[in-house]
């Protein structure tokens, strides 16, 4: 059932996007083949797609876990940034540390920073009843400004001092120094393919989250609180505490995504990294239907869209911005399954009718 839902959402989105492209005077078929070539065409492009899957898996899990506790985590973007900054802070210093210690520590600081950023709205909700949608979105701005400040190059004009993580050797560029080799995530397949172990870690985390939800007391309580807070209270569960913990976990997952991107891909932090990541987490979570395998598949799809966009533009002339439109269509159809089913039924009925008409003519 869940798989069917996922398929209808994707098909519905594809149909709508194709219609939109056709209206704009492009050939949808060319666009989709371009998209496929650009993301899956060669080994190298496939590798990029696989690498891009990791952050989508983790932010998707983050939203899913919160959702199971009845919470909307719109704060993955901020938690991702805090995770990135935390990981970089740990990764650019402590030269004496060996790799087996430095990398786990850097990842842990990244997870921890994201956790704190998730725990704040969780705690606010539990203690004051403030709505987590508002607080997480607001904290996204705080995180973005804070992260930007940490690597800010400073300005002699306005007499502002550079941020604490700014790379003085980089001149006027706002970016951190490179992460030390001991804190970088090693390759599974080295360059030119470049798939790092963070991808495997993300997949393992998907399993871990499933296990947490299905096999632990914490997961059971979290789901009860999410499904029916009154029943949870009746059963003697601590709803407030569970809310805080759920948001802590959610923040940690998004933080891990940020840490993996900085320690495995960019090797530094700059404000422009990971700006958009987070919103996609919601779409991945909805499309993945709360199941870890579904989330991995949905993440893969989003990675395909992300990786193939440029090639699509090159091959078909469809602007790569259309990818965001496709993503939005997926989100809409995932959130409103009835809409997708209706659309597909309509299309198949028209096709059958025209096939019948063609048959009569023949």
């Amino acid at each position: 059932m869940a798989a069917l839902h996922m398929a209808t959402a994707v098909l519905g989105a594809a149909l709508m996007s194709a219609a939109l492209m056709a209206v704009l005077g492009h050939n949808p078929w060319e666009a989709f083949t371009g998209l496929a070539k650009g993301s899956l065409g060669t080994e190298r492009e496939l590798a990029v797609t696989v690498r891009k899957t990791a952050p989508f898996v983790l932010t998707g899990l983050s939203v899913t876990l919160a959702l199971k506790a009845g919470l909307f985590n719109f704060g993955t973007a901020g938690q991702f940034l805090m995770g990135s900054v935390g990981a970089v802070w740990m990764g650019i210093q402590f030269e004496a540390l060996p790799g087996w210690l430095h990398l786990p520590l850097a990842l842990a600081v990244g997870i921890g920073s994201g956790s704190v950023w998730g725990a704040i709205p969780g705690w606010l909700k539990a203690s004051t009843g403030s709505h987590e949608v508002i607080t997480t979105i607001m904290l996204n701005y705080v995180a973005a400004l804070f992260a930007g400040w940490t690597v800010f190059a400073g300005s002699s004009l306005s007499m502002t001092r550079p941020g604490p993580l700014w790379d003085a050797t980089a001149g006027p560029v706002s970016a951190s120094p490179d992460v030390l080799a001991s804190a970088r995530i090693p390759w599974i397949l080295g360059p030119p393919l470049g798939i790092h172990w963070g991808v495997a870690l993300a997949l393992l985390t998907a399993l871990l989250v499933w296990w947490l939800m299905e096999r632990t007391q914490f997961g059971f309580e979290l789901k009860t609180v999410g499904a029916k807070p009154l029943a949870a209270r009746y059963a003697g569960m601590r709803c407030g505490w569970t809310t805080v913990l759920a948001m802590t976990w959610a923040g940690g997952l998004a933080g891990l995504a940020g840490a993996i991107e900085t320690l495995g891909v960019h090797y530094k932090f700059a404000p422009e990294f990971g700006g958009g990541v987070g919103f996609e987490g919601i779409a991945v979570a909805l499309l993945g239907q709360g199941h870890p395998l579904g989330i991995v598949l949905a993440a893969l799809l989003f990675a395909v869209l992300d990786a193939g966009a440029l090639r699509m533009q090159f091959d078909s002339g469809v602007p790569s911005d259309i990818i965001q439109v496709i993503q939005t269509f997926i989100l809409i159809f995932a959130a409103a399954p009835a809409l997708a089913t209706w659309l597909l039924n309509r299309v198949s009925r028209t096709q059958r009718a025209s096939a019948a008409a063609a048959g009569r003519r023949a």
């Binding site: 096999r215 007391q217 009860t224 029943a231 009746y234 003697g236 569960m237």
Partner: protein
């Protein structure tokens, strides 16, 4: 279907209501309805006729297929096979809208009213009178008032009152008027008395008789035998999805109907051995509890419950029982007074401490809001409040083996009818859901059992089994506090009877000193 000839026909026929021979045209004909759900046959080849001006009682246990049948008639489910005819015309019901258009109205157990709107607004909602696209409340009010008047006072409602402020019985009346306003010829009442006080039930029956007189055909779904004998013209009994018999109130007995319904001879009275009450278990002293809005719900109440006795807490709904139980189970703060459980002060103990330390079992008043999670499996629901203790968890990990074994035992012991332990609880019938809650709360090591409306909306067979289990707990030496709005339930089970009225205990005496009549008066606030 043209309404006028039908009305005429009904008008001609209401004189002979109840006599089937003179009524060749049923207003509703159900023919060969069969309904399959995955793994279950909910309805098997059901035939039913409803005549204008007749009250047809459809009697059956929870899970017998009553609700499914009504949902088919009302257009909520398509039948697997069979047909429904209204006034001789095949009803192609694809949604409730078609059913309403054909003159079928349904009053559900849970009302579909907007609490923040007035009675009038709720009645006309979706069928508003307008003048050039603008609402015309004056005409609507006149029409509704006229409609109510036709029933000579039985349907009196203050049209400007807010639904929120009305008692349950009044809300039901609004639902009925809503149906009549939509010109319903067939009225389906789904367990209408489950939520009513005896007085409210009495006036509902008055209304039903009035409607019958006006020619409305009424399907009255229930599992309460007394009521069927009281008000029905004809009775159809459903068991396991099939009609197993018809009866007429004059020619049958409670026992006979119960036997038909359950398929065996159930015992309608509970055998109780004499047990000498043991030591004191629960001691409530001058307890005061407030509602959320700050008004006093429980006013300086004191009582004791001993081991091996059932203290029955009788009273009409809304007299503070809910808040009292809430305070005793740690779900509502105590304003003043003390509660002592087995000698320890538990006045401000949390639900976590009371429930999880194995002291207090609590069958909540409304299983849907508190007692269960519909989307969780049967097995998960059976450990809802036990999931943090051995053997169901170790080092924070759930032990699925133990949870399954526990579920298997409870399902067998309490006869919970489910196709598997993994089945979501929401897909079970109400009676089986309630049995599950009861099964979970009756656990080993219990000291006090608080049962609040333990058999509300539950069929005869399940009532029998739940009552049996409650008495067993008492016989095993546990203290039981039983709160019920149903005086018969209190009289059947309690060793001592306390009556609550407007937040106070107005009577507390051994059960032997209270009879049905006196209990009724006490519940109405009239101390003898």
């Amino acid at each position: 279907m043209n309404a006028a000839p039908v009305a005429k026909r009904i008008g001609l026929r209401h004189q002979s209501a109840g006599s089937r021979r003179n009524m060749p045209h049923p207003v509703l004909e159900v023919r060969g309805i069969t309904k399959h759900f995955p793994g279950v046959v909910a309805n098997r080849n059901i035939d039913l006729d409803l005549f204008p001006g007749e009250i047809l009682a459809v009697l059956g246990e929870n899970g017998a297929g009553k609700s499914t049948l009504m949902n088919i008639i009302y257009g909520l489910h398509p039948p697997t096979s069979g047909s429904v005819r209204v006034g001789g015309r095949q009803l192609e019901c694809r949604s409730p809208r078609d059913a309403i258009a054909a003159g079928i109205a349904m009053v559900h157990q849970h009302f579909h009213l907007v609490p923040t709107m007035t009675v009038l607004e709720n009645i006309v909602l979706g069928a508003e009178t307008t003048r050039r696209g603008v609402l015309d409340p004056a005409t609507a009010e006149r029409d509704v008032a006229e409609l109510c008047q036709r029933f000579g006072g039985q349907l009196d409602i203050n049209l400007q009152a807010m639904i929120d402020d009305l008692p349950v019985g009044m809300r039901q009346r609004v639902e009925i008027v809503k149906a009549l306003y939509r010109r319903a010829r067939i009225l389906v009442l789904d367990e209408p008395t489950a939520v009513l006080t005896p007085q409210e039930t009495g006036s509902l029956f008055q209304i039903m008789r009035g409607l019958r007189h006006q020619g409305t055909g009424i399907i009255f779904i229930t599992h309460k035998l007394k009521e069927v004998l009281d008000v029905a013209d004809r009775i159809a009994v459903l068991r396991r999805g099939a009609v197993v018999g018809h009866a007429r109130p004059g020619a049958t007995t409670e026992q006979a109907m119960a036997t038909m319904m359950v398929g065996r001879v159930p015992s309608l009275t509970i055998p109780k051995t004499t047990v000498v009450p043991g030591p004191l278990m629960l001691e409530v002293d001058t307890l005061t509890v407030h509602r959320d809005d700050g008004t006093t719900a429980v006013d300086r109440i004191s009582f004791k419950v001993h081991q091996g006795e059932i203290l029955g807490l009788a009273g009409v709904q809304g007299n503070g029982q809910t808040e009292l139980i809430g305070a005793l189970t740690g779900l509502r703060p105590v304003s003043s007074g003390t509660v002592r459980l087995n000698g320890r002060d538990t006045t401000h103990a949390s639900a976590r401490r009371l429930g999880r330390e194995g002291d207090t079992g609590h069958i909540p008043e409304d299983r849907h809001t508190h007692g269960m999670v519909e989307s969780f499996s049967v097995a998960q629901n059976l450990v809802l409040n036990l999931c943090n203790r051995p053997p169901f968890t170790r080092w924070g990990l759930l032990r699925l083996e133990a949870i399954r074994a526990h579920a298997g035992r409870k399902v067998a012991d309490f006869d919970i009818r489910t196709t598997s332990l993994k089945q979501p609880l929401g897909s079970l019938s109400g009676g089986n859901q309630q049995k599950l809650v009861v099964a979970r709360e009756m656990r080993d090591g219990l000291q006090l059992l608080i049962a609040n409306q333990p058999t509300r909306g539950v069929d005869v067979g399940s009532v029998e089994s739940i009552h049996h289990h409650i008495v067993q707990q008492r016989n095993a030496g546990r203290a039981v506090l039983l709160a019920s709005y149903d005086p018969d339930e209190i009289l059947a089970l309690a060793d001592r009877i306390a009556v609550m009225f407007e937040g106070r205990l107005i009577s507390l005496s051994p059960a032997a000193q209270v009879d049905r009549n006196r209990l009724g008066l006490l519940m109405a606030g009239i101390p003898a």
